[in-house]
């Protein structure tokens, strides 16, 4: 173990750990990673480095990191999640090497990358902080809710709640303090705001640009507003502002613009809630008819809450739901009526944003709408409800479980029902069978008009019937019993023959099925309705059934075995065929590679003896098994493969059948590296991908080249040409500068006006150039001039040097020619 550790540590610097070693190393730190694949390897390597550094730091430092980590620990995440954000920040600070820092020019590109790091950090901090705050905020959020209800004035409740939020003690105060710090910290990189905004929001989701514009128009002040919009851009959940911005934009203006308040996430949330409340009452008024509806809706709330599993992460809305759940309980006590509007409301309320707020506003509305006797219990309940804030999410879950239990109990009854039905059916069939048996036995054949002596004979024969035997012995038995019945027996039998009735006796002669005429032909008597004892009957029936079932089973077994055999044969066939094809492919590969080898090495003969091929492909132990497969493969090749020819050659004095590969090898140019050419657009530029209008006349284009890979003297001119060619319809480009040292491959372009730059943006952004994806951002004009003072004076549009009103043909030719000179350096 110790040797292992030392061995691994020695490998640490070179990061040549195998996957298993990486896995075990990570496990030593108490972190169980997922499978280590080529994709996840770099991530885990980074993690391992971080864990090691953290371990070292933990050894050197005091528990400061630890406590910071503990504070920052959120509810989600793994066991080391808590310490991870802290270490994240630490490593970000300590190990952030921004190579652009060293550039001689005013650190133009590095500014933005610098700006990214602190913002990332702050983003992380704020995300963790806000999560922490939000749990504290749950309590504070309830208070504005109750106050608004009490106030019965929703319209201006917004400002009052905002004020109350601002003035709420304890966590609220802390929040404003931290906000101020956050705001001040952000004001530093604010000049980069514009560029950054569109850089990030280029990938942002819908309406971000629209929202920013909206809020821009609302608040006139420059810097704090930039902070607000940028902070909005930073936060992961900032898109809630679209809801707020669009619907409640005017209310934003109305409330005193506090940049600190605006920028806080939780504050935004409450504002959203409040604002939406303000917006929705008008269209809720017609929807909410009775409190029964609302109660129904309230009851439906936990179900959307449980169904959309987002709620665990949005404590504010959980608190709102909790409110409603809490009050729904009271509603249930007070009014347990109104079934009728429920179905209507069910159809009307869908799961979504609006109904939830509508619920909320409807709740508050109905409280407003003159039920003073309920407000009193409300007040009494609200402190209790307040205390149960944290437990109510569990109540929601409990309710969900109860519903599940109810469902499961009903399923139990369904289970019992099915069992009952099954037993009933079984009993029924059993009874049916018994009845059938008894019916068989009860042969009640009432024969009328039989004379007394016949009845005597009948009685005797009944005896015989009881016995269930059929032979003539009984006749003699009767005769023996009572000799005077001798004649009667004859007449009786004759009578039986003549009568068409069924007397319960069937007479059969020597030859069956012949109609009996004479008594003397009778040889056997058979009773048609034997009165056998139950057991006997049952036994007979049972045997019959069993024999029949056995017969059927035998027949079915035969059929099944036949089918199975057929399937087995078929499967074997398939297997063999597959093996044969596999073998054929391998032979082809071998022959092809051999022929290629022959081309390079002219000593080899271009054919291979067949037995040699077989022996090289098939393992010795399989040779006898694969013999059949091999022969089939051979036949297949000679019949179907045109690239292989079978010949007879003399090798070393022996005649062999050989295979020769006769396909000329295709000469494919595998390394067709495109060089310095535009290769098409990756995605269409729509509102989501690009800013809606161009902001400045200056562009920064990234990822157009790799400074390490470029060779030659004038590759930057090629870049110039490429850009001009790409924007050949745009005659407003006045200055192009290639930053040769930037690792990101940056090119700076200045245009005559914003409109020209917008067109150039559309042409360039998202295109592929030289195998790289090009991205474009806007830059501020003054910064551009700071960096390139010579560009201040240029106002003549640049043109591609060979492009004087001609087609771009010569240009591309020249570019390709120049590119060809460089292509050797690329591959």
């Amino acid at each position: 173990m110790i040797l292992n550790a030392a061995h691994i540590l020695s490998k640490m610097a070179s990061t040549q750990l195998t996957d298993e070693e990486l896995f075990s190393e990570l496990k030593r730190f108490g972190f169980t990673p997922g499978p280590v694949t080529e994709n996840t390897r770099p991530v885990y390597l980074k993690k391992l480095k971080k864990l090691r550094e953290e371990q070292q730091q933990r050894g050197s430092r005091s528990g400061k990191t630890r406590s910071g980590g503990a504070i920052n620990s959120t509810s989600g995440g793994g066991n080391t999640a808590g310490s991870r954000p802290a270490s994240h920040d630490v490593t970000h600070l300590s190990s952030s090497r921004r190579p652009g820092r060293k550039s001689s020019v005013l650190g133009f590109s590095s500014d933005e990358s610098d700006a990214e790091a602190p913002l990332k950090r702050e983003g992380l901090n704020h995300s963790s902080k806000s999560d922490r705050n939000s749990s504290l905020l749950q309590q504070t959020k309830v208070r504005p809710v109750t106050t608004s209800r009490m106030a019965t004035k929703i319209q201006f409740g917004a400002t009052s709640t905002l004020n109350s939020n601002n003035s709420s003690p304890g966590p609220g105060g802390q929040r404003s303090v931290s906000l101020g710090w956050g705001v001040r910290a952000r004001s530093r990189p604010s000049p980069e705001a514009e560029g950054r905004d569109y850089d990030e929001s280029g990938d942002e989701d819908d309406h971000e640009g629209g929202m920013e514009q909206n809020s821009r128009s609302l608040n006139g002040s420059g810097a704090p507003h930039l902070n607000a919009s940028k902070l909005a851009g930073d936060y992961s959940d900032s898109d809630e502002e679209e809801v707020m911005g669009r619907s409640a934009g005017d209310q934003l203006g109305r409330s005193p613009p506090k940049a600190g308040f605006h920028s806080h996430k939780a504050g935004q949330r409450s504002q959203t809630g409040v604002a939406a409340r303000q917006v929705n009452p008008p269209d809720i008024l017609n929807m909410v008819a009775s409190r029964g509806e609302e109660e129904e809706v309230n009851r439906r709330d936990p179900s959307p809450a449980s169904r959309c599993h987002n709620f665990a992460r949005k404590p504010i809305y959980v608190s709102l739901a909790e409110n409603r759940a809490g009050e729904a309980g009271e509603n249930n006590h007070v009014d347990g009526e109104d079934e009728a509007p429920r179905s209507g409301s069910r159809s009307r309320f869908a799961i979504g944003l609006r109904p939830r707020f509508s619920n909320y506003s409807s709740l508050s509305q109905t409280y407003r709408g003159g039920h003073p006797n309920h407000t009193a219990p409300n007040h009494a309940h609200s402190p209790a409800v307040l205390k149960q804030r944290l437990s109510v999410p569990e109540d929601d879950l409990l309710q969900q479980f109860k519903r599940d239990e109810v469902a499961s109990s009903s399923s139990f009854s369904a289970h019992y029902l099915s069992m009952f039905l099954l037993t009933a059916a079984c009993l029924f069939f059993l009874l049916l069978g018994l009845m059938y048996l008894r019916m068989r036995g009860s042969g009640s054949s009432e024969v009328d008009g039989v004379s007394k002596c016949l009845t005597n004979v009948q009685a005797a024969i009944q005896l015989f019937i009881l016995q269930g035997k059929w032979c003539l012995y009984l006749v003699s038995f009767v005769q023996v019993q009572n000799p005077e019945f001798d004649g009667f027996i004859e007449t009786a039998l004759e009578w039986i023959i003549r009568t068409g009735q069924d007397v319960g006796i069937r007479l059969t002669g020597q030859v069956a099925d012949d109609p009996l005429i004479d008594v003397s032909e009778i040889s056997r008597l058979e009773s048609t309705h034997p009165k056998m004892p139950f057991m006997c009957r049952f036994r007979r029936a049972f045997l019959t059934v069993i024999s029949r079932v056995f017969l059927i089973a035998v027949v079915a077994g035969c059929a099944w075995s036949v089918v199975y055999y057929v399937k087995y044969r078929w499967r074997k066939e398939e297997e063999q065929t597959r093996q044969m094809y596999d073998m054929v492919e391998r032979i082809i590969d071998v022959l092809r590679s051999h022929s290629e080898a022959c081309q390079e090495n002219l000593d080899l003969k271009p054919y291979l003896p067949i037995p040699h091929v077989r022996d090289s492909l098939v393992q010795p132990q399989d040779r006898s098994k694969m013999m059949k497969v091999w022969e089939r493969a051979e036949r297949f090749l000679s019949a179907n493969e045109s690239r292989i020819r079978k010949e007879s050659q003399r090798i070393d004095g022996g005649d062999f059948l050989v295979w020769r590969w006769i396909q000329p090898s295709l000469s494919c140019d595998k390394t067709l590296m495109p060089s310095k050419v535009w290769q098409g657009k990756a995605f269409p530029l729509d509102r989501r991908n690009s800013p809606p209008n161009s902001l400045t006349p200056c562009l920064k284009i990234r990822n157009m080249f790799d400074p390490v890979m470029e060779v030659g003297e004038s590759w930057d001119l090629a870049i110039h040409e490429a850009i001009l060619e790409k924007c050949h319809d745009n005659d407003g480009i006045v200055h192009i500068a290639v930053d040769k040292n930037s690792r990101e491959g940056c090119v700076y372009v200045k245009c005559l006006s914003a409109e020209h730059s917008g067109r150039a943006f559309k042409a360039l952004h998202g295109s592929w150039f030289d195998g790289k994806l090009v991205t474009v951002k806007y830059l501020r004009l003054d910064r551009y001039h700071q960096r390139f003072p010579q560009a201040q004076g240029s106002s003549t549009p640049l043109m591609a040097s060979s492009l004087h009103g001609n087609a771009p043909g010569p240009t591309t030719n020249r570019l390709q020619h120049r590119g060809a000179a460089h292509s050797s350096g690329f591959s």
């Binding site: 990673p33 942002e204 309406h207 959940d237 599993h309 991908n689 998202g766 994806l773």
Partner: protein
């Protein structure tokens, strides 16, 4: 639920099927292209010649490989595609909620 964007809601609301990776919250055109480029990195010529779109379930697969750990996934996303932490966080959140809803 209402603090998420339309894109987020659209993604988390139904099984992802064959949605492209750009339908993930936080991943727009550029990032999607970079991810696709990364996924094709093994010996094929880059993006413009291949019209095949990267599908969202490939990224889901990566998320699951990292055992649904949002931190690791965020790091991976930032490493491979150059996303910033906000975008990666959005994407990670989106995937996590999808997994909670459908896995």
């Amino acid at each position: 639920m209402s603090t998420s964007t339309q894109k987020h809601r659209d993604f988390v609301g139904e099984p992802m099927g064959d949605k492209p990776v750009t339908s993930l919250s936080g991943i727009g055109g550029i990032l999607g292209e970079k991810l696709r480029h990364q996924s094709l990195r093994q010996g094929e010529t880059p993006g413009p010649f291949l019209t095949r779109d990267l599908l969202a379930y490939v990224v889901l697969g990566q998320f699951l490989l990292l055992k649904k750990d949002p931190e690791m996934f965020t790091e991976w996303l930032r490493d491979t595609s150059g996303a910033n932490s906000r975008q990666a966080g959005l994407c990670s959140q989106c995937l996590r909620e999808w997994c909670d809803a459908f896995l």
